[in-house]
Amino acid sequence: MDVLTFSRIQFGDTAAFHILWPLMSIGLALYLAIMEGMWLYTKDESYYRQLRFWIKIFVLTFAIGVASGFPLSFQFGTNWAAFSNAAGSFFGNILGFETTIAFTLETASLGILLFGWKRVPRAVHFIANLFVLIGASLSGFWIVAANSWMQVPHGVAFVEGKFVVTDYLAAIFNPDTLVSFAHMWLACIVATMFLVAGISAAVLLTKNAADATRAFFLHSLRYALMLIIITTPVQMVVGDMFGGILEANQPAKLAAYELHWNTNPPGTGASLNLFAWPRADGGGNVFQISVPNLLSYIVVHTPDGEVKGLNDFPPLDRPSVVDAIITFLSFRVMVGLGVVMFFIAVWGIVLWRRGVLTLPAILSRRWFLRVLVAAIPAGFIATEAGWMVREIGRQPWVVYGMMRTTDALSSNLALPQVGTSLIGLSVIYAALAVAFVVFVVRIVRRGPDLTTPIP
């Protein structure tokens, strides 16, 4: 193990932990904005109760999100100084936009959302709620834009060891940015709504819940399910758009997704590996279970379209065998969970049309509720897997095709330094995750406040 590997593990560890919280912040911010909007529109008190209850969990996700975001931006300087120095004029600029244009809006509005109940008019409170959603989403946009540029670095020239921007619009809105942002934003909604639906289902499954509490959680179950039904199919369509983007911009990464080694000769189709395992030295698979022509069809949308294989790239310019295996497996986890979530959404539609998403009919559909509880981690795992596909598939490049990960590292870093911070941060992350679960369980057990007068 060397400083490079440690630094990569530390960054991956931090990023994987961090992404969980903005995911929930954005998803819950949307839910809160819908609830407050409906409350103001219908004057129905039950929406206000929803708002006050789910805001508690939102606060926790926001706090841990901020806390875990610090180490991420710090590590660009501490561990990846060479990358930051070379790419700062674009990458740092975009992160500067994220904090100044998006994050400030979110944090200042958050004060009003949490504490402003009697201090500002209802309309101002609702606007602050919307600003939290917009600020959080805009933050997500800038972060994805910065990351997309590392995948598809358009609009820059590499001059004397530094990136110089030649076309800002091309760099920010590279072919990857908008699709990636849509994919990420939808992932936030899907994953969070499965959390809301799962928590609601868990309460509905308890035997001695009060009727008012059941009604409350049926309410949140219905809204979460509605958002799941809308977003899950759209998410699959958006995900499919990556095929063409990758083929045009990151062909070696696409080949790693599929452990596709040899380019299909003209007139024949590329087959899709359902499962495969590569040879230890790369160059081909030990075995594979594949469907003929399907890969060509998915990527090029014709039965025999050309899909470049990994062997078309020099070994130093394509993901290593280990990176390729992780990419291949993560991709299957993501897609598999996506399909599972889609079928749960279909099940939800069927039950809805039969009119059983009401009390007490829902209580007899225990299997549906149990599946919803079991599906709580699905969206989170799928998102993590998706990011692993995206980032590990990018290797060995930090900026695709322009700067290698090995050239991105800080100078004069000592292994004990990185080791200490890696262990320290990992311990903190684990403790935070445990504390979060404990507090959410406590908040849910205590249930919603259904009596305090409305401000």
């Binding site: 004029s89 936009f97 004069n412 911070s421």
Partner: protein, 336 residues
């Protein structure tokens, strides 16, 4: 002539000053909460910070993000060199951020209010370590950090850590007196007096030590025009301190303490800039060496320039909305 790098330098200094002064008071309150006292007092301290501390802390992220974009060499080399102070600040900020929210939901308040205070203290120590490391001088060869993991840990850094923690305490006490959350005013005044004393001793030693550690600062005190500016700032600090001490000793004008403390530390901040300009990392890297290419600075100015005044106004609005006393705020908190 005012050029783009100078404009960005001034913007970042403004953002940093806002962070240090606003969050400095919040961190100070956090450290005060560590001292023995009733748990209800601690809770009321946390309550007055509730609506504002997040927005205040954001200025650090804003300054860091802007620095990364406008002066990437300083962001990268600086954090490379100040790895451990950076980690200390991170741990402090994480602890503070989460314990604040967990405190609101917890059954046993004491561990979380303690974690909040501890997080504030660790953050302040980290600030001192980073500032000390920066002022002690960072070795740079060929645009890369050339020192070791502990190069920042000089005697000067030790003194600056004490000075920064004491400064935040002064701001914190003054802020508490202004918000009237701290009921035992008499005791608070005497504690404030003690911390003012510690701050001045620490900062005076640091000022004397600086030229020894980093020769640049010697020239700043003996060469015009910087020596005139520095002298004027020092006189300003002495006058403002005299007003502060007078108010503290006489236990009068409690509402003036916080603005006076802000003026003193604001002047101190300006003095540090005069002492270091145009260096961002004295004595090796100037703001002109580290600046991003011209087109990046222009583009960032179009993106961030119009937003900053809006953010400032929004934050002023926020602090006005939550200006009344601690008791009233608590009634509106997301109590569980």
């Amino acid at each position: 002539m005012i050029t783009l790098p100078i404009i960005w330098y001034l913007i970042i200094c403004l953002e940093l000053a806002l962070y240090v002064l606003l969050d400095g008071a919040n961190l100070g309150v956090g450290i005060v909460s560590l001292f023995p006292q009733q748990e209800s007092k601690r809770a009321s301290m946390l309550t007055i910070l509730g609506p504002i501390w997040n927005a205040n802390e954001t200025w650090l992220l804003v300054a860091a993000g802007t620095l990364f974009g406008a002066f990437p060499a300083v962001y990268s080399i600086g954090l490379n060199a100040l790895y451990l102070p950076g980690v200390i600040i991170l741990i402090g900020l994480i602890l503070r951020a989460v314990s604040f929210e967990f405190h609101a939901f917890s059954v046993h308040k004491r561990p979380w209010s303690f974690a909040f205070g501890l997080g504030s203290l660790i953050t302040a120590i980290g600030h001192g370590a980073a500032l000390g490391g920066l002022l002690s001088g960072i070795a740079v060869v060929d645009g890369h950090f050339a020192g070791g993991p502990l190069s920042w840990a000089t005697p000067l850094t030790g003194i600056i850590i004490v000075g920064v923690v004491a400064s935040y305490l002064v701001l914190g006490y003054a802020y508490l007196i202004r918000r009237m959350a701290y009921e035992n005013q008499h005791e608070t005044f005497s504690r404030l007096l003690t911390t003012v004393g510690i701050t001045f001793v620490a900062l005076a030693i640091a000022t004397l030590f600086l030229p020894v550690q980093n020769f640049l600062f010697f020239t700043r005190w003996v060469e015009p025009p910087s020596m005139y500016y520095l002298t004027a700032i020092a006189v300003g600090i002495v006058i403002a301190s005299a007003f502060l001490l007078h108010a503290v000793i006489r236990h009068r004008h409690a509402e003036r303490l916080y603005p006076l403390a802000l003026i003193i530390f604001g002047l101190g901040f300006v003095g540090m800039l005069v002492g270091t300009y145009p260096y961002l990392m004295p004595p090796s890297i100037t703001l002109f060496d580290a600046a991003s290419p011209h087109n990046t600075l222009v583009f960032m100015l179009w993106g961030i320039g119009p937003i900053l005044p809006i953010v400032l106004l929004y934050n002023i609005y926020l602090s006005r909305v939550f200006r009344s006393d601690a008791h009233e705020v608590r009634a509106n908190a997301y109590d569980i």
